[in-house]
């Protein structure tokens, strides 16, 4: 895959405090030719009755992707750039193991197609040097795609974190979450 112009230094950053819940990311994601008008990124209210806070969830592209590890059909693969690809349609048997295993709740089984579908970090765009569509259009900077140096220069009050601790499990990801300055990990109880 060396013929691609995928920029290895660029990473994906999510800053929840900036999310305005507008869903530009969802709409833009769905435009991708491989997504068939379904979005692979999801915006939801946390609790609309008490706040307008929304969350945005994209595939975190784990270093050691559980979804791939539990796939009985070997349909999910991670490439040399750290992108965890959506299930190979020829192999996916629609068993939903990945859906249940993902600690972030990312893969969705699309019942219409009997297939798992998830974000590939816009491989068609990132592999030719463009940014993923969601991070391109995001109007608030809740989603950003670029280098760690860029984000640290732009946002001195936050620190990107890509270590998540679920109980005894530590998960490292390609996607970063922006946290208060100096944070090193996010512990999920």
């Amino acid at each position: 895959m060396n013929y691609t112009s995928f920029n290895k230094n660029e990473e994906f950053f999510v800053d929840m405090q900036r999310c305005i819940g507008c869903k530009a990311c969802e709409m833009a994601c769905a435009e991708c030719e491989t997504n068939g008008q379904d979005s692979m990124i999801h915006v939801n209210y946390v609790d609309r009755a008490s706040t307008v806070q929304t969350t945005v969830q994209v595939c975190m592209h784990c270093d050691d992707p559980v979804c791939a590890n539990v796939c009985p059909a070997d349909a999910i693969s991670k490439d040399e750039f750290g992108i965890v690809h959506t299930a190979n349609t020829e192999r996916c048997i629609g068993c939903s193991n990945c859906v249940m295993a993902c600690p972030f709740g990312v893969p969705k089984k699309e019942e219409n197609y009997d297939l798992m579908m998830k974000c590939t970090m816009c491989y068609d765009r990132t592999s030719v040097g463009k940014k993923p569509m969601c991070a391109t259009v995001c109007p608030s900077g809740a989603l950003f795609y670029g280098t760690k140096d860029e984000i640290q220069e732009m946002r001195p009050n936050s620190t990107p974190v890509n270590t998540f601790i679920f109980g005894k499990e530590t998960v490292n990801t390609k996607v970063n979450i922006m946290m208060p300055k100096g944070s090193t990990e996010l512990i999920i109880y």
């Binding site: 405090q17 900036r18 305005i20 819940g21 507008c22 869903k23 530009a24 969802e26 709409m27 833009a28 769905a30 435009e31 030719e33 068939g36 008008q37 609309r48 009755a49 008490s50 706040t51 307008v52 806070q53 929304t54 940014k131 569509m133 391109t136 259009v137 995001c138 109007p139 608030s140 900077g141 732009m154 946002r155 001195p156 009050n157």
Partner: protein, 738 residues
């Protein structure tokens, strides 16, 4: 004869709104377009750069335009989906005529034009020229706005031309003219970057100007403090340093108290006030009783928070104050704007880097459209239609006798009132859907039904157009060349990506054809849009909004040019007032007293609850375009009435229970959305929907005496829970409500 020819349901079944979705696999040719056309979004005043993908004369998708400096590829959901207004099944493909009992049937251009011109002449001969009126809109380009202004005065020879900018930023325009002698945001948004304090007053930026959010955060990343003034915890307020949850209709009390606090604690720029302003003392006298305690009582905001905000504002070295419809849509909208300007002038933070002040113009070409044409009291270059010198200059440019130039006409809502009174008998509208966007829609409908003749130019059969006798199938933004002026004052190029489909024609060619048939062809012959722009440049020359030095070529080469730009060699003016030479008669910036007054309607025993209206992120204005785009409709399928849990408890209201909301003008039934993010004494309904789902059934036609803007933001209502839970939102057909 402006009553509906058949039932409204029948019209909807044929002409929509229908929801348009992209095919699952995308439009044919989307991934191999013939061309990517660099242009701008057709919606709000941000005018984000976007590339439209074109295949075989159809818009089939979009691609972000990374190089355009304001948005660098960023878009909101409306921008992402805007391409779906093209290829739309509801698109009007030929002129239509009203046939009683049959509805709207296609007809030839010749027939439609004959009828239109015949009726214009008949009405004007019988009732006088001013009995035929025109309503226009600022989604139109500068070229079309200019052309409409000239057309109404020179071809229709009527004084009664106004536009939907009357519902947009006219209060800001009037306030800016009083204070600065010029109506434009004083700064471009890059001045937000190092502002230490940002005040956002009555501007739901994250929903109505989403791409501006990025610029606010740029400043916050560098330590800026954000103060948001809004009765609701809007998305931007959620993380603000201070949220001032103002009671609707009391904004000027807040600004008065803040000004008094600045003066009492000597947080003033005396040098600036003494040398570059006038009217300070009388303005201060007008707020001498505006203590923090008084302001807390009036505005409902805790006095400690007001004090905190005043301290932050007073001590800052740099700052930016932004406001929008939230403070402008009031019977004292101009006063509210002046109250904000007084805070800016008192601290002298204007005309310097990172010291900014601006209204955020709402409509796509709200800025440019209000400078060159179709405002009832105005001539190109932001000239005054009652000023003899201005009249003389424009008459020369237009080649008419100054005596034939009509005078000041009625404003938009006053035109509807005059129709209702029977004084105006005919109407030509373009780019305006007053039945949804004007207040007191039942009254507006009655007025429309009284018209003897109504002709509408539009690309979809909007709700108002259903009352027309003739509908002329016009063009979408992407079907004509032109320019717009963004909310920053940046003049930019709109590109023709495709030609109008079927027998539809460009708006420009329709207006030119009517002018020709009215016998003034010699004054309405242009080779192309650029020729109209070149005439506009000359017409604006010497006015406050001077475009003379701006050319199509320069706009392209420089990614837009900021007016004023009086000569070809002039660099344009991204930041106003650096020279401290204000455009007022005495050359100074003017403080204006803006003492607090009650809103036009206050709560009482019968109508005990405050109602305010606004917008949602996925809809734009009256929804003519966005209520036809499937995913934008699905995002907010219906208007909900937002109610605080404490008020819900008081009335025994359950989540999604249907609530009859009534005012002195009308009533509507809306599902309740019980949220803590609104003041306890206020309910909120977004206004984009028509018919029985229209919030404007409820709003009052009270106007600001200076700007004539209607008071959409505050009135008194009554709530009645109907003991019935609304069906799921997904089943709602509010987008096409009759």
């Amino acid at each position: 004869m402006a009553k509906l020819p058949v039932s409204e349901e029948h019209i909807v079944s044929l002409f929509g709104p229908h929801k348009n979705y992209s095919p699952k696999e995308g439009y044919e040719g989307r991934d191999e377009p013939d061309e990517l056309v660099k242009t701008h979004c057709c919606f709000c005043g941000m005018q984000c750069g976007i590339q439209l993908s074109v295949k075989e004369n159809k818009v089939v998708g979009f691609e972000p335009w990374m190089e355009f400096p304001f948005n660098e590829g960023r878009l909101c959901p409306k921008g992402v989906q805007r391409y779906l207004q093209n290829n739309h099944p509801d698109r009007l493909l030929s002129p239509l005529k009203r046939v009683e009992g049959q509805g709207f049937v296609p007809t030839s251009w010749d027939d439609a034009m004959d009828k239109t011109v015949g009726e214009i002449k008949r009405i004007q001969e019988k009732y006088g020229n001013d009995a035929f009126s025109m309503l226009s809109g600022v989604s139109l380009t500068n070229e079309k706005s200019y052309l409409v202004g000239k057309f109404a005065r020179v071809a229709l020879k009527t004084k009664n031309l106004d536009y939907n900018g009357r519902l947009c930023m006219v209060s800001a325009g009037a306030g800016n003219k009083k204070a600065f002698g010029l109506d434009r945001g004083s700064n471009n948004y890059s001045d937000l970057e190092y502002a230490e304090v940002i005040i956002v007053a009555g501007a739901n930026i994250s929903e109505t100007f989403p791409t501006l959010t990025h610029w606010i955060w740029k400043a916050r990343d560098r330590g800026a403090k954000l103060i948001v003034i809004d009765p609701r915890v809007i998305p931007l307020a959620r993380t603000a340093d201070i949220h001032l949850d103002v009671r609707p209709g009391t904004d000027s009390a807040l600004y008065g108290a803040m000004l008094k606090y600045l003066a009492d604690h000597d947080m003033l720029d005396h040098d600036f006030i003494d040398n570059h302003t006038s009217g300070f003392q009388e303005t201060l006298d007008a707020v001498k009783d505006n203590t923090l305690e008084w302001a807390e009582e009036v505005t409902g905001i805790k006095k400690e928070k007001i004090q905190q905000a005043a301290e932050l504002w007073g001590k800052a070295n740099t700052s930016f104050l932004l406001h929008a419809r939230g403070i402008e849509h009031h019977s004292k909208g101009v006063d509210n704007v002046l109250g904000c300007i007084n805070l800016v002038l008192a601290t002298g933070r204007i005309g310097k880097p990172y010291c900014g002040y601006a209204t955020i113009t709402g409509q796509g070409n709200g800025q440019g459209g209000r400078e060159h044409g179709h405002k009832c009291d105005q001539l190109p270059g932001n000239r005054d239609i009652e000023n003899p010198e201005h009249r003389k200059y424009i008459s020369e440019v237009w080649g008419i006798d100054e005596k034939d130039m009509p005078g000041k006409g009625l404003s938009a809502y006053e035109i509807i009132e005059a129709i209702h009174r029977g004084e105006i008998k005919g109407l030509l509208s373009i780019c305006f859907n007053p039945l949804v966007s004007l207040p007191n829609s039942n009254y507006v409908r009655e007025a429309l039904e009284k018209l003897e003749f109504y002709v509408c130019i539009d690309f979809f059969l909007n709700e108002t157009a259903r009352h027309a006798d003739i509908v002329l199938a016009g063009s979408l933004q992407e079907e004509e060349e032109g320019t717009t002026t963004s909310a920053e004052g940046r003049v930019i190029r709109i590109r023709q990506a495709v030609t109008p489909p079927g027998m539809a024609r460009t708006d420009t060619s329709i207006i030119l054809e009517i002018a020709k048939r009215l016998g003034v062809k010699d004054k309405f012959t242009y080779e192309n849009s650029e020729a109209i722009f070149d005439e506009l440049r000359v017409a604006s020359k010497g006015g406050t909004a001077d475009y003379y030095g701006i050319t199509y070529q320069r706009i392209e080469d420089e990614m837009g040019v900021f007016w004023p730009c009086p000569t070809i060699g002039h660099p344009g003016t991204p930041r106003l007032w650096e020279d401290r030479k204000f455009k007022t008669p005495d050359g100074k910036a003017h403080f204006n007293p803006a003492p607090y007054k009650l809103p036009g309607e206050v709560t009482d025993e019968d109508y005990p609850v405050i109602l305010t209206t606004g917008r949602v992120v996925s809809q734009y204005l009256s929804g003519t375009q966005t209520r036809r785009i499937g995913k934008l409709v699905d995002q907010f399928p219906e208007p909900l009435v937002e109610i605080h849990p404490n008020m819900a408890k008081q009335y025994g209201i359950k989540q999604r229970e249907l609530i009859r909301v009534s005012t002195r003008r009308g009533e509507g039934i809306f599902p309740a959305n019980i949220v803590e993010t609104i003041r306890e004494d206020t309910v909120f309904i977004p206004y984009h929907w028509p018919g029985k789902k229209s919030a404007n059934q409820l709003t009052p036609g009270t106007l600001d005496p200076i700007s004539k803007i209607p008071e959409f933001k505050v009135c008194a209502c009554h709530l009645e829970p109907l003991k019935e839970i609304a069906p799921p939102s997904t089943e709602s057909t509010a987008y096409a409500s009759v």
